[in-house]
Symmetry: D2
Subunit: 336 residues, 4 copies
């Protein structure tokens, strides 16, 4: 299946090391998040990010994003984001549900990056009264919904606006590993050092089974976060099995190894369809121009992927698909 | 640890067969609940319950209860339940969160069973106007919070009231397996045949890792259920790993085997502390009179359990603790 | 109608002085709460309460209570109150709606006053974890739902508990005027000086048309209150007409004059049915033992009132019913 | 003030006939909406609209819009509307609050009218899965936020799309009277006959004090509406005073008379600044090009109005401002 599955990395297999970690966690029997593995997350991420972190494991990225945003805004406030952000178009309104009705306030962008100038203008256009929803947080996705990696200085430009307006900055990192693998920077550089207050650090797409980390930097977490998680039905009684996945992903930088593999696969694929690329390929997603006829041909050959509007398609390479695994698709595209 | 862990079955180990099922599910790579395992749940439960079922896997019992209740009531309505029901005292208000603010309307009970007469009186006392919250669902727990099994005819008495008042009947079955193991009846007998509209069928406490089934009978599910799940952040991208746990628990009646083991362990323990029992032991929980001094002695000997108010304690036996595993505790209690 | 209407003071007429104030307010044309009358409320109440107040006009008591409570608690927290409190049984779940699902946690009481000892025990019984809802506010009603006035020292006993547990204390003062008229104390004595953080000060039942004041003491208001009001659809564009009612009620202590009249009427009525009284009559409500036959006789004679369960009735005297107005009912009861 | 107040009709005076109605309503003393005036609304609007209507009075347009929309959509669904619709930009998120988090899904438009083609394309672009919010209602404003009147056939084009997609159609009629006055059609023609399911019929801006009618056509109201109103704190105990305002506005077509006066004033003003108009003037609002310098001059002369972005201004004429009242402003603009 690794030779034909390009519709999403969220269906990829679980890395053997993670499976082993689950077996190991079965020797522990402490409930909820009272176990040693769960309790070790703060320290593990603090090491990784070179600063004190407050970390909460959670089973899905939708829950991670929603809990962070609900923690940052009150029900009558707003969240500024890109108009095609995952939180806006693919979470069935979860951020609004968790926050008690906060409004997503969308902005256009290029390659799914909101523009600092447009953001500033949007904020300036909001009347400071009770009639208009006042934004209290900004959310960006790294890697973006179009597979681009936010640079530290780009994040900094957004966080500067957030700071000056008294807003929090959230980073949806469903593919954070792929972004960091591309940037080659320290995880800290593109997060808290660039002004990010909280990160949804995704592991599920990158080799875990169901494991994401909510990471708060600079004391931005605190009272209420665990209540939101419990209240959402996300406090697993055998929570050690989620914590264990995360620890396994962090050990020996497995998260980075996996992301590099996926990125390499994507790069190999990109080389085969360079003239079709709609965006530079920086992470593990390709958006390519593809006619309906061409799509049909690829599908007939067994390849599975999503159409992306008319005349375009999205190809996602997963951690378990290296350059060799993508070769058949690369050849098929070249042959079109 | 199986010799000393009596604080909760929700910390028990995962059954090896379930672990194997996870490994097997790693060979599939379909996203969300589009995989064959997830898709097979309706049929599997329809077989087990001898009627057409609509089934949704979910990671926690809190989410299962909340989604069912949110599906049955509107935000301005109420849910009648026992005053110490799990949904009332142990879910951080999750049913209210999912339902948009529906009110839990509590009733006293004996052994955590609400009384049909008291229920009828309570309903009769509610004015039929917009000032008072009108209940639209009743929730009972089987086995109850005090370890008793609702008999089919007892459930029938409650469901008759529900029907005549236009309410839905929900059964929180976090320990449904233990109740059925005790009753020796068909699962259908104590659920839909007795008038239950939906069941939270728990597997996590009984040998799974994180897997519960939301089971709708008689067409009580339908539009909105999957949206509630997604919106709550409970649609796992690799959902096959939850579905696989449930299928493993259903295969060869593992759920029943495990529950019988836990019940047997509890019965063995009960024999050792008969004079201390506050409730008959029908499932896998014991509530016993125990002085602070006695508690301290047992804890000093390494046993782990919860105090239950003053002068009482709760002992929970898990699927991985048979009569032999409980022998040390039984002896220690006898020796007090 | 003043001779026969005893079912509620919330249906009473509007005082002529309030009607005149509406006519006068029609000469102003500033929108929302930007007008001078609205802007004068902080100062007017600060004078009355001898301390700095933050005041927000609102059209109903349900909205006043809900906005204060939603301001004091987060969605996952709770509100401790008497089990028959208006917020619990007569507001269709509005506090839960405004707060995003906060739980009302009820306590028994005598004459609708919760007992400090029982309150302390209840709080002590709540486990400090994320599973149980943690209360963040206490709400009491003055005069109570059974027509009793909380004494300053009684309020103080409750507020001491609130303070020591980090909770806010709310007073539902739908009949605050009647309580103060009975106590003969300064409004401050039974509110902030006794530890109350916010008061729903009712005027509608006491001669206004639709006007209640949300009064925050000691800086307990602030950011978010006005958003809750606007978001609830309670910011009237011609808000001056609500503010004007309140100013009219405060001028020359009309609120106290009206409350004294109602209380005097109630006292006169109480004298006629002394042996029937279920509670001392301190404000403007009487709860009396009355057989179904007796109720029928009074109704046949034209008197309108509510049954209060079996064998009991509630009689409410309004500001526009003095001792003379209640004489016919007093005579009818005496003659039973 | 009628000579200088052009910032909004929501600050206008109350018509004397409405004031008289309030005085008359003070002779009634029935609580909530049990009085004869409240009870007469269904019939009165059924007459006006030539069809059976279910009507609920409410104090604000924000509450009217929110209750209708919350009745039409579930929390996980969406509401399609113009990107600058009042419900989107001026209600502090109230529709989301009342609906439990439903998403406003915005569309561009011309003169604040959404385009049928763009609407169709938008709906077609939504994937039919649980990840994307599915819209369940469309909301349009008549007269629009830019002072244009929707024609019956334009409404029909939108309602046809709503029907074919199983959505409800809501009309925000804060200035419905002004639209009807301009169109010269029957109220039915531009509402239910054109496919509108529910109307927020505004009276406050048009001569009432605080009175709007929620009008359901074709049985689109029903269970839940009154609970939403009570739960929002909008059921006034002396509700007759709101119902009375509405009856006064309906009597002798006062609503139409007032709207015609305001429209006439606006037309007179439009004649004076024809070359500056950004939109045709169909109702009582003008949007004109005005430099900062010109604005300053008008303000220095005492005129009060809102800037509308850079180089533009909004002028609103109220029912109490006839052609004569607007003459000074007309002259001042001409003299610029």
């Amino acid at each position: 299946m690794t030779a034909t599955r390009f519709f999403s990395d969220n269906a990829a297999t679980v890395h053997p090391v993670v499976m082993d970690a689950l077996v190991a966690a079965n020797r522990v029997d402490t409930a909820y998040d009272g176990d040693a593995i769960s309790q070790s997350l703060d320290a593990a991420f603090s090491d990784l990010f070179e600063t004190s972190c407050e970390v909460v494991w959670i089973a899905t990225g939708t829950a991670a994003n929603s809990i962070i945003l609900a923690h940052f805004v009150r029900p009558w406030q707003g969240i500024l984001c890109y108009e095609e952000a995952h939180i806006e178009v693919d979470e069935c309104g979860a951020p609004s549900f968790y926050s008690g009705g906060a409004k997503l306030m969308t902005l256009p962008g290029s390659g799914a990056k909101i523009d600092a100038g447009a953001l500033r203008a949007r904020i300036a256009g909001i009347r400071q009264d009770v009639h208009q929803v006042q934004p209290a947080a900004i959310s960006i996705t790294n890697a973006t919904e179009y597979g681009l990696a936010w640079r530290p200085q780009e994040v900094g430009a957004i966080s500067e606006i957030a700071r000056s307006s008294g807003m929090k900055l959230h980073m949806d990192g469903a593919r954070f590993a792929n972004a960091v693998a591309h940037l080659g920077c320290a995880p800290a550089d593109v997060t808290w050092r660039a002004g990010v207050d909280a990160l949804s650090f995704g592991f599920t797409k990158n080799g875990a089974m169901m494991a994401e980390a909510i990471v708060f930097f600079g004391g931005s977490g605190g009272a209420g976060v665990r209540e939101l998680k419990k209240r959402g039905g996300h406090l697993l009684s055998k929570g050690r099995f989620v914590a264990a996945q995360i620890r396994a992903m962090l050990a020996d930088d497995l998260w980075l190894t996996n992301a590099r593999a996926a990125n390499a696969g994507a790069a190999a694929l990109a080389a085969a369809c360079h003239s079709r690329l709609m965006y530079p390929v920086e992470a593990n997603e390709l958006f390519i121009r593809l006619t309906a006829e061409e799509s049909a041909k690829l599908r007939a050959a067994g390849f599975d992927f999503y159409d992306w509007g008319e005349g375009a398609a999205r190809l996602v390479v997963s951690w378990d698909q290296d350059a060799q695994a993508v070769a058949p698709l690369a050849a098929a595209i070249s042959a079109l």
